[in-house]
């Protein structure tokens, strides 16, 4: 047996190649529709995006509650009817509200497009925010909230956002149970009428694009009246808290959740692609330094990651893990040790080429298939960027050298500026 010489096959360089461009069309009322044709199956993903995220909130929970109530009753259908119809046509729907944007995504088979568009219009532009459903949702959410606060991961992350962005800014504000009492259906109607508007939205369509898809969308949404209404955005400033190290006690916890990080540049900044590479080296993939050292060599944790995220007005980087309580201080020490190493010692060529190749493969995966394409499109479109960002990233992955990584680590990972939150 095993007469074969088990010699490693040659590795070929991985190229990102040409990224398919979205085609843009405008409805009669100027709503932009981006079309990304891809895939082998007769299925379409349609995402309706509004600038209606938490950043627009003048009270906590307004954005998420408005969003969650969209499918809870409209002018023509009750909550039950809406949900039943979406299910009957086999669609999958996702409501989402994030820091900057909020919206609604629906996946459906081509044959049901007309019905799905009609239902989408109901949900997005004719919600009625009925009191009964609102009360049920609120009671459910209070219970979810209590459960959310049971988990050390959430205690740590909520406190992290508050520390990094400030307790008064929508990016940083922690929800307290009393916030659920202040929201009313009338406030939701007001928020909806200001931010779920045709002049404030885009549609991203991907997958199978049937010939007259754009006509269907136009006949469904093209008659909505855009109007310029004056809304004063709330004036709140991003300002991190003074205390950098915070410990939250949670009696009975068998693990501590650790979050270490701070605000940072976002996708619009020229250093961002380089910072992405640095993040990968540190903790952005399974072979990263943090994972190798703290999981694979020491066994302190099931997983440890560092990540980089962009918001419209800012961005943040965070290292996250849960570790057994007796190992949590050792884990933290190792995290700082790894950061210092990156600031002082050049990354070896072999290691850097693993990261580069892994990231090049990641970029291929980011554009594989209709839904990945749509998500990647949205991830730059939101920032007013386009595929040029991805080409810059691909270029940086190829060209970055160990010196640049040291420089980035020194500039962006100043240990004195990092917040350290431990819950558990």
């Amino acid at each position: 047996m095993n007469k074969l010489q088990r010699i490693q096959p040659p590795l070929l360089p991985v190229e990102t190649g040409l990224i398919p461009e979205a085609r843009i069309c405008f409805l009669r009322n100027k709503i932009p529709v981006y079309l990304i044709k891809a895939g082998t199956e007769d299925i379409t993903r349609m995402e309706f995006v509004f600038r209606a995220g938490q950043i627009k909130e003048y009270l906590p929970l307004l954005s998420s509650t408005t969003n969650m109530m969209l499918t809870e009753g409209s002018q023509n259908y009750s909550s039950e009817e809406l949900n039943q119809k979406f299910d009957y046509y086999g669609s999958q729907i996702n409501l989402s509200s994030e820091k900057d944007c909020a919206g609604f995504t629906v996946y459906f088979l081509g044959k049901h497009i007309k019905k799905i568009l009609e239902l989408s219009r109901e949900v997005l532009f004719r919600p009625v925010f009925p009191h009964k459903e609102f009360n049920i949702l609120t009671r459910k959410r209070i219970q979810w909230y209590r459960l959310h606060r049971e988990r050390v991961q959430n205690l740590a992350m909520d406190k992290f956002f508050e520390s990094v962005f400030g307790k008064h800014h929508p990016y940083g504000k922690q929800i307290v149970e009393g916030d659920f009492e202040t929201i009313t259906p009338e406030l939701l109607m007001d928020f909806h009428s200001k931010y779920y508007r045709p002049e404030n939205m885009a549609v991203i369509v991907s997958g199978r694009i049937h010939k007259n898809m754009i006509d269907f969308i136009d006949s469904c949404l093209g008659d909505l009246n855009p109007q310029k209404i004056y809304i004063e955005d709330s004036k709140s400033y991003l300002q991190g808290g003074k205390t950098k190290k915070i410990k939250i006690q949670k009696p009975g916890a068998v693990q501590s959740a650790i979050r270490i990080g701070s605000t940072t540049i976002n996708k619009r900044h020229p250093h961002y692609p380089g910072l992405k590479v640095l993040n990968s080296v540190l903790g952005g993939y399974f072979g990263s330094r943090l994972m190798k050292n703290i999981r694979e060599e020491k066994g302190y944790t099931y997983g440890i990651y560092s990540s980089l995220s962009s918001f419209d007005l800012s961005g943040f980087k965070v290292i996250s893990t849960e570790a057994g309580k007796k190992n949590s201080q050792k884990t933290i020490d190792e995290i700082y040790k790894e950061i210092r190493l990156l600031q002082t010692r050049p990354v070896k060529k072999e290691e850097l080429s693993v990261v580069k190749n892994y990231m090049s493969g990641e970029m291929v995966r980011m554009f594989d298939g209709p839904f990945a394409l749509a998500e990647s499109f949205k991830a730059v479109w939101e920032f007013g960027l386009d595929n040029a960002y991805y080409y810059r990233l691909a270029e940086k992955i190829k060209s970055i050298d160990p010196d640049e990584i040291i420089e980035l680590a020194q500039t962006y990972y100043n240990i004195d500026e990092l917040y350290e939150i431990i819950a558990g």
């Binding site: 199956e41 999958q92 020491k298 849960e322 190749n357 493969g361």
Partner: protein, 414 residues
Amino acid sequence: MIKFTRFSLDNGLRIIVHEDRSTPLVAMNILYIAGSRDEDPDHTGLAHLFEHLMFGGSVNIPEYDIPLQLAGGENNAFTNNDITGYYLTVPSENIETGFWLESDRMLELNFSQENLDIQKNVVIEEFKQRYLNQPYGDAMLKLRPLAYKVHPYRWPTIGMDISHIEKTDLSQVKDFFFTHYAPNNAIITLTGRITPALAYDLSVKWFGPIDKRAVNKRELPVEPAQTEERILSLEKDVSSNALYKAWHVGPRTGENFHTVDLITDILAGGESGRLYTKLVREKNLFNEINAYTTADIDPGLVVITGKLMKGIDPLFADKAINEVINNLKNRAVGVYELNKVKNKFESSMVLSNTSVLNKAMSLSYYELLGDADIINNEIDFYKAVTTEMILETAQKYLIPSNCSTLFYNSTRND
């Protein structure tokens, strides 16, 4: 229609190839027919711990991850009651690296005490993170042994207890490998930018030289029919009461699997499911409620899990679930509702087939069930389900004497 080619090697390894040139990637899935049901009751959690060890290097390759990352690839794995699945995606130009890596670890692992000790720690942290340090995280650890008395499904994949993981030694690990990890106990699927001819050549080259092994014959105890209702009440420091119910049903390949699956969709598929509509929306007894079938290869379960609203008596909530169940047993489901769950299945199948990786995992699994082509005709089994079949199947299985109920009560009075 998912077209595929199927062949097997002399050593018994089965290989399926589905070429899809719309992607620059190839997905490779290796299904080993070994899961937690193959464990000794005194050493549970071994199949899953073993999955971790598969990343600690093999006989000719010191480390699994680095060469794959150099090839631009990504991988992961999972273990369940019945199988262990390993999967990777890699840009097509580097697919041979996948063959090299996977065949080497099928050939033999680099068994080291050091790696075992570290991965035991990692798995123990996983046990804590996912099952112990989560509210309700241990519910299935309690429900399984209530429903199953003798069959290995009575313990979860992570293991019955942390002590089982702690005491695992190297000889058990080696033994598990040579009796379960074998070409004649695996199914490989390749999907994406690869021709069947290339897949064949590479399979012969890399997996062909691995010898057939004597795989443990599975002789599992048959779970005796449950004859009376089982109830367990626990008091835990959680924010609210929860309720878990399980009924025994048939195996994944049994004649009424599809009917059972649609029953759980009628009960809880999407926001318009009956349990959600009645008990969350109308009566406001539950905060969330779900129903599913475990779809296990040996006879499985239908499970309902629900979290109660504050102040609701668990016995009252249980009664309300039973009313919904009784309604399903007493009155035929309407055509609209039945079509709704069938439509939903159809689109979820299409949605799953948009990903090369999902296609690879499904094809391997269907081949294990008997024929990879089930991926193309399973929808027909769902379409053939009638209202009478729903009625009969609900009457057959969803009865109190076949049911186990776990009351997971909060000790707090706030």
